[in-house]
Amino acid sequence: MIVRRMIVVGGLAALVVAVGASPGLADDLADYLEDAGDAIYSGQRLVGTTWDGIERVGMVDIQHHGGMTSVGAGSDIAMMGAGRMHLGGPDDAAISFVLESTPDLHARYTVENGEATRHLGRPATVLDVMEAGRLRVRMVVDDSTSAPVVTQVFDAAGDVFRYSSMVDFSVWVDPAMVQTDGREYRMMLPIEQVELPASLGEYQLIDGYSGPDDGQQAFYTDGLFSFSVFTTDRRLNWRAITDDELPYVSAGHSYLRVVAPTSVWVLWNAPSSAMALVGDLPPDHLDQVLTELPRPGTDNWLKRMWRRVFG
């Protein structure tokens, strides 16, 4: 085992010379994000969203290894990564997406190296992710592990919209993180026909899946932020499944929004369908996306009656 590993290490060392790999931080946003995905760490993370005076904050125990993130502990654990997610114990629901494609979308953002700093006493580097010359995301990256120990997402006015900070950090992870979890997953396979635009704002449609209530889920990303749009063929009473909704007006149209520490939901009924957008995109991106989706509205009474009687 050790001999084999020595051969591997030796081979990799030779490859360092061959490919000219630098021991420094990565060169562009894609590399930073990939390094962050490979980072190994655990600790406590404080996350929060501040939007129009609404504030939602969460604190989680987190472990990250092999591209998988585990949050919580015991029966309250949630594990996600590589298109999979499960909540709770071994008998609880688990879902796994089979992807159709992986996007290569990083033209929108550039990275500017910032100053050296320290976070929790560890050497770290500040990175600014710029969008059209404006600061969109500031990250503090742990120098040894590449873990993003602090992130701040800014809105169009330059105010912090979402933040995240490790308040306790270790390079230790539970070895169980890399073990098989032995549970059955509900497989989500991509569907051929997605009934939504191929792009919304600067976000591209990557793939689509069957959604709840005989609807669809369309997944969009711009390489940094992402969201899903869920559609159904009937209008829904959104207030029946949340008591935490708040009004939201975009371009003169009224929506409902639910704000959580790491995500936002925007809910509405278009004339003949219900729509929900869930994601981590900042408010100005959200407004741009909403302008290109069906607007809130109602059918005339005859159509409504027809649907009620004949479905």
């Binding site: 998988m68 992807l99 390079v171």
Partner: protein, 201 residues
């Protein structure tokens, strides 16, 4: 003759095993100490990570299917469905599925078969395909489930009669989980479950 640099060699082995998740608990502490402040060790670790990234970016050698008939996932599809792959192997299989429509089709057929078998009455099929006797508690669960089903049907009829057919049959958390699961496959921010919250201090 001066010895080879055992510390560096040992570090290389430790870091490689660490990245593969194959360290013993004592060794994890050793790595943890190294990465907490040893500048040389940190540089070496980052170098190794850079190499691994470069290796991943190398173009994959495309083998024509007729030359390598077992170039597809085969039995690993079943293990993938049953959650029996370790994390790193799962990532490799997922990556292959992105590029291989044959294997995606195979996975779809397997999944359909699994659903069909599971829907057979009175048969409990484990993930390994073994049939087992249906335990008494399961009958009770089914009875309860039947009761719940009947109650749901009644509620549906009442709802239809009252014109309340616009109740969503899912929760916001369900939508959030579906999105987070899909987004977790992309190299964006580390995704977190959408429904966690604590009160502000």
């Amino acid at each position: 003759m001066a010895p080879l640099i055992p510390d560096s060699e040992r570090r290389g082995e430790l870091f490689s095993a660490y990245l593969d998740g194959q360290l013993a608990p004592g060794e994890v502490t050793e790595v943890s100490d190294l990465l907490d402040g040893d500048a040389d060790a940190i540089a070496e670790f980052r170098s190794l990570m850079g190499v691994r990234r470069s290796v991943r970016l190398l173009p994959e050698f495309e083998v024509p299917p007729h030359l390598l008939p077992d170039g597809h996932l085969g039995d690993r599809l079943s293990a993938y469905l049953d959650g029996e792959l370790v994390t790193l192997e799962h990532r490799r299989v997922t990556r292959h599925l992105v590029d291989c429509s044959d294997c995606r089709g195979g996975l779809q057929e397997l999944d359909r078969a699994r659903i069909a078998v599971r829907s057979l009455p009175g048969v409990d099929v484990t993930t390994t395909g073994e049939m087992s006797a249906v335990p008494a508690v399961r009958h009770r669960k089914r009875f309860i489930a039947g009761g719940i089903g009947a109650a749901a049907a009644t509620a549906l009829l009442v709802g239809l009669a009252l014109g309340n057919s616009d109740q969503p049959a899912f929760s916001l958390d369900d939508l959030g989980s579906r999105h987070v699961a899909r987004a977790s496959a992309e190299p964006g921010f580390a995704v977190l479950p959408p429904s966690m919250e604590v009160a502000l201090p």
